[in-house]
Assembly symmetry: C2
Homo-oligomer: 302 residues x 2
């Protein structure tokens, strides 16, 4: 059980350094009896006499006091260090940002954002987490991550999201597909073809909901949770796929080619957002990153 306070230690060290309670009290802007009292208490809780009081000639340290001073110095400087470190990281743009990315968005947006930001603030580094929407919400709320780059689903009232951009659904087709040279594609043009469904929570429902306006159900040939598997299947002619973002690479992992074409159908608007837990005060670095993301996407839109 610790029964002393950091304040007592601070006063004690000041007195030890001055050799004189009065001088210490002037340095600390605290009255002399207050200091005297604090040290008496410290002595009592430690059951150890630390000072020898001289009349009209200040004080000197007992051997135990001398030991104690050096202990106090290290403890106090350690405490200072912690304080400085925490304050610094709430104020300066440095340290680690723990950021989550929705699996299909991460590879598209995260690297450029991170690179751009660390160019401005080289003291910041990032720790990336990937997951589906549920996992990201969970990670935010349990403090595993401070922010997440994901779709705006508004399904969790503890989460606060900032819109970065509107996302439009795209169709993925093999380059060999007859419609591969279209500028836009309507879902009905593909109604008899097999669909390769991205089978992540929310996204699977979202893509299927696109068919509701036509009262049709798609013919789902494959389901996968992996973006790259999806792209490979499409590039190798296993069907078409729907994605909520525009991947710029036309080559998938096995070298086959595919293409991404905007969907011309009506789609319930969906946004790319950066999210945080509602009401939490973020470290400065995170606030700065949020600002940066907003600015960065506004520039893109121009």
């Amino acid at each position: 059980m610790i029964n002393y306070t950091l304040k007592q230690l601070k006063y004690f060290v000041a007195v030890a350094e001055s050799g004189n309670v009065t001088e210490a009290s002037e340095k600390l802007y605290i009255s002399q009896p207050a200091i005297s009292n604090a040290i008496s208490q410290l002595e009592e809780t430690l059951n150890t006499q630390l000072l020898i009081r001289h009349h009209a000639k200040g004080v000197s340290l007992t051997p135990a006091g001398k030991e104690m001073v050096s202990y106090c110095r290290t403890l106090l400087s350690h405490a200072e260090e912690i304080n400085g470190y925490m304050i610094q990281h709430s104020t300066l743009i440095s340290g680690t940002i723990n950021i989550g990315c929705y699996a299909s968005l991460g590879p598209i947006y995260a690297p450029k954002l991170i690179q751009g930001f660390t160019k401005l603030y080289p003291e910041v580094n990032f720790k990336l987490f990937e997951g589906d929407i549920e996992e990201l919400n969970e990670a935010l709320v349990t403090g595993k991550i401070e922010m997440a780059l994901m779709y705006d689903l508004n399904n969790n009232c503890q989460i606060e999201s900032t819109k970065l951009a509107k996302i439009s659904p795209h169709v993925l087709l093999s380059v060999k597909h007859p419609l591969a040279n279209r500028k836009k594609i309507n879902l009905m043009a593909l109604q008899d073809e097999p669909l390769v469904l991205l089978d992540l929570p929310h996204s699977n429902k979202y893509f299927q909901s696109l068919f509701e306006q036509y009262d049709k159900n798609p013919f789902i040939k494959h389901r996968t949770k992996s973006i790259e598997m999806l792209r490979s299947l499409v590039a190798n002619g296993e069907g078409y796929a729907l994605m909520n973002a525009h991947v710029k690479s036309n080559t998938c992992f096995d070298g086959s080619e595919l293409i991404s074409i905007p969907l011309s159908d009506y789609a319930t608007p969906i946004s790319l957002v950066i999210s945080k837990v509602l009401g939490v005060k973020l470290p400065k670095r995170c606030e700065a990153f949020l600002e940066f993301c907003i600015k960065n996407f506004n520039l893109d839109n121009k």
Copy 2:
């Protein structure tokens, strides 16, 4: 400037470990709002959010909070360690005793006392200081030493002494001296011989005062501050000397022989004492040593 308290840190760590303020408050026997409040204050002083509060589901740590917990743990355990160390040394008989010895008494009494005590309490070690009375008083009052083995001169009202034994003056003579076989010697028997004076503060005055009862002044041939020089001079026939303790060795450093014979004259009583600063609470080890010295000398006197 440190603006947090160890108590706040303690509460915070407890909450972090419980994941739950209520549980922590039960462990700490402190009301739940008190803890909640303390942590809010801590967050404010650090300008950093440490916890994410969930409704009806406890709390979780933010990344900053996670860092802070580990800092707190090391700081608190350091503080515990200091506390434990200081309490232990005020309670247990271990650690270092800083003891001063009057130059001429040290070699005679200190080694046996130290050996006897460390046999009883092997955890204790000694740091020895030697000096004349003034130096020892100074060392006591400035906290350089906790106790001193010296003569009782009662000349410093800040010092508190415990009598260990009465000391009687002895005459040192060369074994070749005609009076070397006496059991006791009267000063007048030596009145025409040269005196080798131990020229330490107080002792020089004391020895010269012995001659006052005869209205004589001694013939001082040599003055020295060193006991061994004194003994060598005497052993080599340069004169007799007076000492306030009985040295048991008859051989001095150069191999010459000398003898120590009690003085039969009246001498103002002088005592061997162990001294400390008036009113200071000594560590347990020092109190134990004081007790040991008292007991040890009482045994000797029987």
